[in-house]
């Protein structure tokens, strides 16, 4: 177990290290560059070269990378040149990361609350109308581009019907105290219920759009897993002992069927980071995804570098925790020659 953890941590370091080098080289090979983005096309050659020097972009790439590394070691990831000029990349990350995390959290909660019961019911009544309907639904859920779903939700529920706000995290004029950066949680902690409700109101549509793919995946895994467990001998034993169906379902079926579902939930949370790029753009939601999209448009190297590295790091860590918890929950994996 310890060896495995150490190996995975090492892998994390390698992934982030290799990725940082690749991204660094890539981002600098991007056409345009931050100088053009900052000064526009009509700047004089003199101002251009001055800014290039100021930003250190005239030095060889390895020198630049080394400087980046040594500054990064002390927590300095550079200053944004495009997304929020003047702010440090780290500030932007800390401002926006809670927003995306909040969004991803609500998306995954929706996916779980709908996906698991539906998957369970579909498996219990295999071949019934609910089963077939939800299978079709989950297949369509995967086939619909996330941003299109976001558009439809926004257009119908926010613009046409006016039930939800169309953009942002919170209504501008609202007076809210910031504690954690998670707006809904802040509102609850400070007991500013209107602020909490307003933030939640802003979250519902983007979270709904973002949840379509995790919902489909969680539903299908739950269904397949429950079907697997229903076939097991211990379920038959429980039945022949005369246990009532609700007891069997709760103690034997559900508990055993949840293992693969837990894994999937973890992995889907990681994948949500990517889906957030599209959803946040549609709803002008000020999270990591929107900053990434803006960063690409405006060639904001420091912000892009930090945000992509963090996203990849979070993804790797989630994968690692999931794999570890998998081994912890299921003793069979441990005894069968250790975790992979």
């Amino acid at each position: 177990m310890l060896r495995y953890t150490v190996r995975r941590l090492l892998q994390l370091v390698i992934v982030v290290g290799v990725l940082s080098l690749l991204l660094f080289a890539w981002l600098r090979s991007l056409p345009g560059g931050p100088v053009s983005a900052l000064l526009g096309e009509r700047a004089t050659a003199e101002t251009r070269s001055r800014l290039t020097q100021e930003l250190g972009l005239d030095q060889p790439i390895f020198v630049q990378y080394w400087k980046f590394l040594s500054r990064a070691a002390s927590g300095d990831f550079g200053v944004s040149t495009g997304v929020q000029p003047g702010d440090t990349a780290a500030d932007i990350f800390f401002q926006r990361f809670p927003a995306t995390l909040e969004l991803a959290f609500f998306a995954i909660v929706i996916a779980i609350v709908v996906g698991i019961p539906l998957g369970y019911l579909a498996a219990r009544r295999k071949g019934g109308w609910l089963d077939n309907l939800s299978i079709v639904g989950s297949l369509i859920g995967v086939a619909v581009p996330v941003f299109f779903l976001a558009f439809v939700l926004k257009q119908v529920l926010a613009v046409d019907l006016g039930w939800f706000p169309t953009a942002g995290r919170q209504t501008g004029g609202i007076d809210a105290t910031r504690v954690t950066g998670f707006f809904v949680l802040d509102g609850i902690l400070t007991q500013e219920w209107d602020a909490a409700w307003d933030a939640l109101h802003h979250l519902i549509l983007p979270a709904l759009a973002l949840s379509s793919i995790p919902f489909s995946v969680i539903f299908r895994i739950t269904r397949a897993s429950v079907l697997d467990v229903l076939d097991e001998d211990f379920v038959r034993t429980a039945e022949s002992k005369g246990l009532t169906t609700p007891v069997i379902n709760r103690r034997h079926v559900l508990r055993n069927a949840m293992l693969p579902v837990v894994t999937t939930i973890g992995l889907q949370t990681g994948a949500l980071l990517a889906g957030a790029v599209l959803t946040e753009k549609v709803f002008a939601f000020p999270g990591i995804g929107q900053a990434l999209a803006l960063g690409f448009e405006r060639r904001d190297y420091p912000v892009l570098l930090l945000l992509i590295l963090c996203a990849a790091g979070v993804f790797v860590i989630i994968n690692m925790v999931v794999d570890l918890s998998y081994a912890l929950i299921d003793p069979r994996i441990r005894t069968a020659g250790g975790v992979r």
């Binding site: 090979s29 086939a143 581009p145 558009f151 257009q155 990517a274 690409f296």
Partner: protein, 311 residues
Amino acid sequence: MSTKTDKIDALAESAGKIGDDPGVSVAAAAWRRLRRNPVFITGAVIIAAFIVLAILSPWLAPHDPTVPMLGDQVVKAKNQIPEPQPGHPLGGDQVGRDLLSRILVGSQQTLLVGVLATLIGLTGGLILGTLAGAIGGWVDSFVMRAVDVMLSIPGLLLAVSIGALFAQPNVYTLIVAVAVVQIPVFARLLRGSMLAQRHSDHVLAARSLGVKQKAIVFRHMLPNSLGPVIVQSTLVLAIAIIEAAGLSFLGLGNPDDRTPEWGQMLGHAQNVIDSHPQLAFWPAGCIIVVALGFTLMGESLREALDPKSRR
């Protein structure tokens, strides 16, 4: 990485399997199951229709998709776009080109993006996976670590990073961005199926007959990996079309809209979606149906090949 990689590995293992009925080949047994599977039939019909449409679209399209023949009905300032009218059942687009013709002809580019991206991903993965699986040793470790690193980055994020690499996004940079993401998936799949076969009877028989390693890999192991590769390719086609649409939406697709493509039409429609939702709905609907078709086909193929996964 459990579920993502497990799924690939499970598929890879089916390469070494022998059919339930020894008298029938794996492919024949799979086909026998598929023939009666309504899911597969639905997917196959959708995809067949899509391919026929793509080939015949230049003749089917009522108008030239590049000519703004309804241009006089477009008023930019008032955000006016030609409504459906006789001769133009779906109306026109932002510059007055016939929408129906653009949808029809757009199927060609969408098919091209999907197929080319899948082929490039497949070729890259084929080379890496075969190297890793056939040579083993440090080549294997090196390739697989690289593959794990690539798999550990969310696909769309990787595609976006790659797409942003190019000075002028066009349809080929879009294809490359979508394809690179699929290389590690195919590599892992092929390596897995190579390993699954390494100790199988037919490879052992060939080896004991003194067949050279190269011939074993190319004549015996690779052809037997074909099944899982076809399954994965079908699923990747759906992913490629959806991801290409996502990249177009982020502005990393083809900016030149003279040759129509569904993802690009959808991306360009985002500014007028409030007033003219039909410009987004038609291409989006087409993307959804085609992606659904490939998914249905891929999933039922996977089931047919690996009876254990049948549910």
